[in-house]
């Protein structure tokens, strides 16, 4: 039965603070090492002592201090950093949920940060997460300067890029098949006879936007028609600016007959513009607004099926994207290997 020489302060601390392995050891009358062994799996510990230790753990409500544990060489923190551009976009909230689903099964916790599409903020978050010694990073990159995500900067911390690739960065990546999705959506419009199709999307500097525009363009090319330059509006990041852009398009002398919208923020803006346009021309007594403008939008979103206009969405599974990103990271962590980066591309589906 050992007695700590500094039993007094420990006694005091126990009142308010988290118990340490020393407290458990003293309580069970063993050394801290024995406690550590019991918690590590209980090999080479006499059953009687093991029981005493477990009782002490339960009684004190002891939990390993993960921060102290991870300080020892070769130990992991059990933390990963997740940087998304904006959780308030339900698409990224789903992504976060998918990541958590996979990683919490591995008993890994998430440090979450929103970059808000700001490269400086992303860089700051990465630096902070490295300082906290995360075991890995899952990032939806904003693009621009990527040096903070380079192998030189991250050292041995595995990185998974989600939703967007980055030129010059070799890392596991999960993306969706933007080009094909946009191609199919646009082709649908063309097959219905439309030739003046508007495009609304984010800045082309964003990976997915560029790819979706490429698919939009390819569909035109394959059909032997040309994209109409004055109907292309890129740079809208939220429904409000998208609505403005769409209202502008509707004012044109020769407005588009169909719209391809490259993400859910833009689609919602388009629908709002169409409704305000339809209402301003509505007959008295007519309650349901109508519009003859066909809309196809990338990304599904909640209630897309309840919209008052005909709308087709190119749907894909954001939660699955998060799950896949999580799985790629877990695989890196488990195998600890230097395999070539893996690329996963998830399918899209045009919902009619």
């Amino acid at each position: 039965m050992t007695v700590r020489n500094d039993a007094e302060p420990t006694q005091q601390r126990r009142m308010s603070a988290v118990p340490t392995i020393h407290d458990v050891a003293a309580h069970a009358g063993v050394s801290p090492m024995t406690v550590s062994r019991v918690l590590a799996g209980g090999t080479s510990v006499r059953p009687a002592k093991m029981e005493r230790v477990l009782a002490a753990v339960a009684e004190l409500g002891y939990r390993k201090n993960e921060n102290a544990r991870s300080l020892r060489p070769g130990q992991r923190t059990g933390l990963i950093g997740v940087i998304i551009t904006n959780v308030s976009n339900p698409y990224y909230a789903e992504l976060q949920l998918g990541v958590e689903e996979v990683l919490s099964a591995e008993n890994i916790r998430l440090l979450v940060g929103n970059s808000g599409e700001d490269p400086a903020r992303e860089r700051q978050l990465v630096a902070d997460f490295i300082g906290r010694h995360v075991d890995g990073l899952i990032v939806v990159p904003t693009g621009g300067d990527t040096s903070h995500l380079s192998e030189r900067s991250l050292g041995s911390i595995p990185l998974v890029l989600a939703s967007r690739e980055l030129e010059g960065i070799e890392a596991d990546t999960v993306v969706i098949d933007d080009v094909k999705g946009a191609f199919e959506g646009t082709s649908q419009l063309i097959s219905e006879g439309h030739t003046r199709i508007a495009y609304l999307g984010n800045m082309v500097s964003v990976f997915t936007s560029k790819r979706r525009y490429d698919g939009f363009e390819k569909a035109h090319k394959d059909a032997g028609i040309e994209v109409v330059p004055e109907l292309v509006r890129a740079g809208q990041r939220d429904p409000a600016t998208a609505q403005d852009a769409m209202e502008e398009l509707l004012q044109l002398p020769d407005p588009p007959t169909a719209v391809f919208s490259a993400n859910n923020r833009n689609t919602i803006g388009v629908l709002r513009a169409l409704r305000s346009n339809a209402l301003s021309f509505a007959q008295p007594g007519e309650t349901a607004p109508r519009s003859d403008i066909r809309v196809v939008g990338f990304d599904n979103f909640e209630l897309s099926d309840m919209m008052p206009f005909l709308l087709n969405v190119i749907e894909h599974d954001a939660r699955e994207l998060g799950r896949q990103a999580g799985k790629l990271l877990v695989r890196r962590l488990r195998e600890n290997n230097n395999d070539a980066p893996r690329k996963v591309q998830l399918p899209t589906h045009l919902r009619i």
Copy 2:
């Protein structure tokens, strides 16, 4: 000019791993203490050395190891745990964003976990976060057993409850004025002449659900009418089950003429049920479904204004709720005081 006796392994580590304060010290030709002082604010350090240290920090890309730092007594981790019930509900995603907005300004990072309304999972997350020595907790509690959130269990870790209170737990709390909101929404329906008003919501064991039901009931009482028991459906947690419940109500011999829905998940289910009902009775050629059933729903949600039926929502600001929760926690951390728990109640607004 000191030279580390173990320069060899450090040299090797620097290739792949994160540099330590010793590496910086060696690089700048000073002791680790001087580096620490420079980074702590640079008091009592000769400008020349300070410059050398800062240069070394920049060159090596050194970042404090926050885990090691927080191990010292009296030091904080700069981490707080955020437990929400489900990020895929945009309401809670907004809440998370509001929390982050306030805490990232304080240079505090978020450990985020989803409880999925499962008390056991919540308990597990709390235990884990305590093990990581978070400086504080912001929790949307699921209810049920609350012992893991008791002062005895948390010790000195400050807790802020968001969106829901807990009986028997004394903690800073931010809620919205559920009772008043539900009262106003229901009163609106009653003032329009409705007397057979359905109620759809989550289980009454959930704090907000109970309060919203209370407001619903109070509006009836004040108007001198009675709640119709067979029109009350509680326990739907997602749109699908809410839709089922609403379809059931529509099948009743004497169906409701109005619906009060206690949260956005239920409102969406109600609208889906109304639409499928309207479509099944639609005349050939009629494209816009109609419904005579009046709906008022708690929580605003994106596109609520674009629904094909008349709908009033009781809106409130989830991001502001998150911000307030963050501010309450920051205040506790800063003042380190034992003030009585503060309660903040945010207003709702019936959108007509």
